[in-house]
Amino acid sequence: MNGALAAIVAPGFFASAPVQVAAAVGALVALVSGTVGVFTVIRGQAFAGEALGDIGTTGESGAFLVGVGPLWGLAGVAVAAAAVMELIGIQRPRGRDLATGIVLGAGLGLAALLLYLYNVDHSASGATFTILFGSPFAISSSTIPLVVAFAVVALGLMLALFRPLLLSSVSPELAAARGIPVRLVGGLYLLALAAAVALAAFTIGTILSTALLVGPAATALRLTRSPARALLAAGLIGVGAMWLGILMAYDSYDWPPAGHGWPVSFFVVTLILLGYLLAGIRHGRRRRDGGRRSSTLRTTALERPGD
C-alpha cells in the first residue's frame, strides 16, 4: 500500500517549498476562475475571457521589460482591455465579438513588439515560454499576498453581485424591468473577469488561462442544475485539476526526457478536458431522456414573431 502511494506521490512532494506555493496559489486561482467562469459561460463571453488572457501576454511581457511584478502587468492590461471592450460595446450581443476581436488584435500586436524587445535585450527565450504557458513551480512566495488580494476582489464581486448578475445574465430585459442597472453590473463583472483571467494567466500561462476559466465551469453546468451549486462545483473541479496536475508534473521529473518535468499547464488542461468529456457521458444520457422537450422548445422559439 505504501509502495503504491509512493509510486503516485513521489518522495518529497509535500515537503517541497515550490510545490507548496504552487498548490496554494493554484488552488486559489482555480477557485476564482471556476466561479467567475460559470457566469462567463452563461453570458456567452468565453471569447472575451480568452481575449483578456491572450492580451495578458502584452501586460506580462511589458512587466518583464520594465521590471515590475508580472501579475501587475497582467491585471493592469486585462482591466484596461475590459474597459475598452465595455466602451466599444460588449453589452450588445453582436457588438460583443467585434469589440473583443478588435481589442484582442491590437493587444497581441503590441505583445509581439514587447516580447521582441525583451528577447533582444536579454537573449533568452525562457520568458516567452513562461508567459505563454505558465510555470506554477516558479511562483515566488512573495507574490502570495497579491494573489490573495486579487482573489478577494474577484470572489467578493461575484458574491456581492450574484443575484443581480444572474438575472442580468439570463435576461437583461427582465433585469432592466426590475430596475437593476444592467450595464453597471455587466461592467463590474468584466472587472472580476479581468482579475480572474490575470490570476489564471499568471499561473498556467496567458494562452491556457481560458481552459481554467471555461473548462471547469462548462463541466459544472453539465453536472448541476442550481446556479449556486454550479459555482461551487466549478471551483472544486478547478482545484482538483490543479492539484492533480501539479502532482503529475512533479512525478514527470522521472519521465523522459528525465530531469525536466513536463509543464504543469499541460496536465491541468488535459485533466480539465477529460473531466468535461466524462461529464458529457453522464449528461448525454440525461439529455436524451429530456431531449424531445428541449427540441420542441427550440423550434417554437425560432418561429416566434418579432413585434
Partner: protein
C-alpha cells in the same frame, strides 16, 4: 375613447396620458391615452409593429416618451417600481443554463439585492407557494431552458408575481403557445386577477383567445389607440376611425373578425393565410 366609468371598481393604477414616442425619426406611438384600475383584465391588441412592445417599454420606464406621461398609482413612475411586474416575450435560455424554475422564481423575490440568497425555510415556503399558485410544482426543479413554452410562461408569471405587483404586464404571452397551453395561461391569469385583485395588461395580436376574460381593451393601430370595453371599441365606426379607412367588424360564432375592404393597404404579412384571400383579417 372616453374613460368615464361609473362602476367605480378599484382605484386608478396606471394612467397613460397622451403618450407619443418617436424611434429613429419614425412615430411609433401617437397620442396614446388609457387607464387601468386595480384588478382589471385589459387586452392590448394590435398587429405586429403596431407599437405594443414600445408601449410596454414606456410603461416600464425603459423607453422615454417624446410627449405625454405615465402615472403609476397617481405619481410619475420611478425607475424601480415594485408595483409593476413584467413578463417578457423573448426568453431564450440554453438548456445547459443552471437555472431551475424555483431559482427563477426566487430571483423574482430578491434579484435586486446584493449577496447570495441564504437558504431559509420562509424563503423556500414562499417560493413553493408561488409555484403552487401557477401549477408549476411539477417542474420546479427542472432547468428553465428545458421547459415547454407554456411551462416557461408560468415560470415567468411566478417570477413576476412573487414580488407582489399590483399590475402585471405580459408581452405576447400567447404568441408561441399551442391553443391548449394558451387557454391554460389565460385562465390562470384571469384567476390571478380575480383572486388577488392584480390588474393585468396583456398584449396580443389576436383578441379572440382573450374575449372571454378581457374586461377592457386597448386597441392599437398605426401607433394610435382606442380604449374602453370590447363592446365600445371593437365596432366598425371606432376601428375605421382608428385605421383611417373603412374596416368591418364581423362577429362569427362568438369570435370577432376585423376585416379591411382593400387588400394590400394593411397587408399583415405575418400570416400568409391572410394574404391569400382578398379580404384582410387584421385581428
Amino acid at each position: 375613447m372616453t374613460d368615464d366609468r361609473s362602476d367605480g371598481r378599484g382605484s386608478q393604477l396606471l394612467s397613460v396620458e397622451r403618450v407619443s414616442v418617436s424611434l429613429a425619426g419614425r412615430e411609433v406611438l401617437r397620442d396614446v391615452s388609457f387607464e387601468i384600475r386595480a384588478g382589471e383584465f385589459t387586452g392590448l391588441i394590435g398587429s405586429n409593429g403596431a407599437g405594443k412592445t414600445t408601449l410596454f417599454r414606456v410603461i416600464l420606464g425603459l423607453q422615454a416618451a417624446s410627449e405625454g406621461s405615465v402615472l403609476v398609482g397617481g405619481r410619475p413612475r420611478s425607475r424601480r417600481n415594485p408595483m409593476i411586474g413584467y413578463v417578457p416575450q423573448k426568453f431564450l435560455l440554453d438548456p445547459d443554463t443552471p437555472l431551475r424554475t424555483r431559482d427563477l422564481v426566487g430571483l423574482g423575490l430578491d434579484a435586486h439585492r446584493f449577496g447570495v440568497a441564504l437558504p431559509s425555510r420562509t424563503r423556500r415556503a414562499r417560493i413553493d407557494a408561488m409555484l403552487e399558485a401557477v401549477d408549476a410544482r411539477g417542474f420546479a426543479d427542472q432547468r428553465v431552458g428545458n421547459l415547454s413554452g407554456g411551462e416557461q410562461q408560468r415560470a415567468l408569471i411566478a417570477h413576476a408575481l412573487i414580488a407582489a405587483p399590483r399590475l402585471l404586464l405580459l408581452d405576447e404571452p400567447l404568441a408561441n403557445l399551442d391553443l391548449r397551453s394558451g387557454h391554460e395561461v389565460v385562465a390562470l391569469l384571469a384567476r390571478i386577477a380575480r383572486e388577488q385583485q392584480i390588474a393585468i395588461l396583456i398584449s396580443a395580436h389576436e383578441m379572440n383567445p382573450l374575449l372571454g376574460v378581457m374586461e377592457r381593451i386597448v386597441y392599437l393601430a398605426a401607433g394610435r389607440a382606442a380604449s374602453g370595453t370590447t363592446q365600445e371599441v371593437v365596432r366598425t365606426s371606432v376601428l375605421s376611425a382608428l385605421y383611417g379607412h373603412h374596416v368591418d367588424v364581423l362577429r362569427v360564432h362568438g369570435r370577432v373578425l376585423v376585416v379591411a375592404g382593400e387588400a394590400g393597404e394593411l397587408a399583415d404579412t405575418s400570416d400568409p393565410a391572410h394574404t391569400q384571400t382578398q379580404v384582410e383579417i387584421i385581428s
